[in-house]
Amino acid sequence: MLNDFINQFWPSTVGGLTVGAIYALIALGYTLVYGVLRLINFAHSEIFMIGTIAALFTVTEIIGLTSPAGGIAMIGVLLLIMVIAMAASGGAAVLLELVAYRPLRKKGASRLAALISAIGASFFLQELFALEVIPRLFDRPEGRNQIGAPRLVERDKVFEIFGATVRLDHIIVIVAAVVMMIALDQFVNRTKVGRGIRATAQDPETAVLMGVNIDNVVRTTFLLGGAMAGVAAVLYLVEFELTVFNVGFVLGVKAFTAAVLGGIGNLRGALLGGFALGLIENWGAIFFGSEWKDVIAFTVLVVILMFRPTGILGESLQQARA
């Protein structure tokens, strides 16, 4: 057992960081919305799913890619589908806010009502895609089956660390995720809109009095969270090469776990939580087997909420410093 652990430690670490980067990007969406609205955006997992569908549609049906492009062309393809997935996910998130949350917010409805509305929206989007959108976009009779994606990045070995192979796709996923997170962090901390977001998270009442347009702030928050989910969607396709109408469910719960682990409402916490969860899950899988990964993640969630409900870094979008 211990021997297994030592042998598989470094490969698991590489795998854990890769999947953790994807968790972290999705977790940002939960954290941003929770920080501003105190709402668990349950439908965020579907925002992610929409990103994967948009990216995959572009790759297979528009570009018609079957084998990975090399060099500059590969970067170009990745950037293109990233922009498209960000637009699709961001747009869907803004629309979601407009339809499912804004009317409730205007009525001053309870958070319970908002959460139930979020669950409803999540169901609706999943089924809409399974029944109508996926069959039409990909011209298949059954929308509930997995759709395989072509290889986007050649799985070339780049270097080896303590006997663990680090491939090109690992590097692209981790680097892209970290770059996006730094960009978001800077946006929230340096720009005027970002200041509005932080002010609203801190104290909505005072923010309004200081001239912050709350509706704009909420819309921007959903747009940013959605765009991050779009990036995560492309990285997910790069790494796992498939999608399905309910791809977001387990991933969403895990990303939420990551957000809570790092301290929900805290952007840098989402990064830390994502990587931590990816690592814990993969290391745990060495002992228990990979079919127990989901149980490990959910158990981590329960244990964290029991002992440190504010997460590792604490809950603070308003301060946004680790």
């Binding site: 501003v36 609205l37 105190r38 709402l39 668990i40 339809v99 499912a100 009317p103 409730l104 917010r105 205007k106 009525k107 001053g108 409805a109 309870s110 958070r111 319970l112 009502a113 908002a114 959460l115 139930i116 509305s117 669950i119 409803g120 929206a121 999540s122 169901f123 609706f124 989007l125 999943q126 089924e127 809409l128 029944l131 609203t200 998270a201 909505p204 009442e205 309004v208 709350i214 702030v217 909420v218 469910f249 387990v250 719960v253 939420f256 776990t257 809570v260 079919e291 127990w292 989901d294 149980v295 959910f298 158990t299 969630l301 329960v302 909420l305 029991m306 409900p309």
Partner: protein, 372 residues
């Protein structure tokens, strides 16, 4: 202020019926209870009703599962969500625990049916305590996610454990012994199972009503409306929240035992997915969270509509989703709300306080500025 008004002034038809009901003599009430029971036992499963309600499918089977099953589960979840105001997204876990208790003890170890029912109730209630004790101190929406995680853990554990049949599940479940002339061993006759589930529903209704009208029910209402205030007023909130989980889990376990046997006679981990938890939540919210007739009506409609209109079947979850969103926007209190609950929702309290980024509920000066 709002609360008082809407509790005393009744205008609609349903309010007039309720006012009459509240003042009716005991023998009227009992006569109506008896009529309802006779209706459910003899008229509802009859051929005449079938031809209208369910021309295409076997009506008694539909009445037993999903209708009876959903009603039972919805009544149990209503105790947790409707009465105590705790959002449980993993309620299916207790259902699974009840079903697997029967499956493991009865199917694999040969216990008789009623012994497994007793054990299932005890195990489900215990698991409710085990889940509740560490998590009930959490804020409302965190609790929702933890319960969701718990539901998934139970399902994945069932799927991954060879000793309880992994993904193949368990077959050869024990059947109840023949009682009152009802033979549960006839594979083609579902009626005994229908009567069994009706009996379970009646028991759960009686327990729910008695609890709701007791000190426990009042404590739950206080916790639901404002937990801090309830604590300050001397309500041991944690104890009562745990009690809600305990009873809710027990009802879930009971539903698990009630689903067993039956025509198919087996259980599988995939019977216990998150979709079922969410569907039961839809039943409660759609019917009228906190109000027992409302919850029964909601569960009936949600279970029956897709069976009656088969073309809906594929689209049922899409419709559920849309219904949930629309319901929360237009009529968050449900079809037949309890009056108290309706008043709470109007005030924007109803459980976990208002959303952030909204200055206040309607009716305060500040909100009008924001909503422009």
């Amino acid at each position: 202020m709002n609360l008082k008004q809407s509790l005393s002034s009744g205008s609609g038809v349903s309010d007039r019926i309720r006012d009459w009901w509240a003042g009716a003599a005991w023998y009227y009430r009992w006569a109506i209870y008896l009529l309802l029971l006779l209706f459910v036992l003899f008229v509802l499963p009859s051929e005449g009703v079938k031809s209208f309600m369910s021309p295409e499918t076997d009506w008694v089977t539909t009445l037993w599962d999903p209708i009876g099953l959903y009603i039972l589960l919805a009544l149990g979840l209503n105790i947790v969500v409707g009465q105590a105001g705790l959002l449980d997204l993993g309620y299916v876990a207790f259902f699974a625990i009840g079903a697997y208790s029967v499956g493991v003890l009865g199917g694999l170890h040969g216990w008789p049916f009623w012994a497994t029912v007793v054990a299932a109730l005890a195990i489900a209630a215990l698991s409710g305590i085990l889940l509740g004790a560490p998590t009930l101190r959490l804020r409302g929406d965190y609790l929702a996610i933890v319960t969701l995680g718990f539901g998934e853990i139970i399902r994945i554990v069932a799927r991954n454990t060879t000793a309880i049949g992994d993904s193949r599940g368990i077959s050869d479940l024990p059947r109840p012994p023949t009682m009152f002339g009802l033979d549960f061993n006839d594979v083609l006759d579902v009626k005994p199972f229908y009567y069994l589930v009706v009996a379970m529903i009646v028991v759960v209704i009686v327990v729910s009503v008695r609890l709701n009208n007791s000190r426990v029910g009042r404590s739950w209402a206080a916790i639901r409306e404002d937990e801090d205030a309830a604590e300050l007023m001397g309500v041991p909130t944690f104890k009562f929240k745990l009690l809600a989980f305990f009873i809710g889990a027990m009802v879930g376990g009971l539903a698990g035992t009630g689903q067993m046997g039956g025509p198919q006679g087996y259980i599988q981990p995939e019977n216990f997915t998150f979709i079922l938890s969410a569907t039961i939540l839809v039943c409660v919210v759609f019917g009228g969270s906190g109000n027992i007739p409302g919850v029964i009506l909601g569960a009936f409609i949600i279970a029956w509509l897709p069976e009656r209109f088969r073309f809906l079947d594929e689209y049922r979850y899409m419709l559920f989703g849309a219904v949930l969103v629309l319901m929360m926007i237009l009529r968050p209190e449900g079809l037949l709300p309890s009056r108290r609950r309706k008043a709470e929702l109007k005030e924007g309290t109803g459980g976990m306080g208002a959303m952030g980024a909204e200055v206040a509920g309607p009716g305060t000066a500040a909100s009008s500025e924001v909503s422009k």
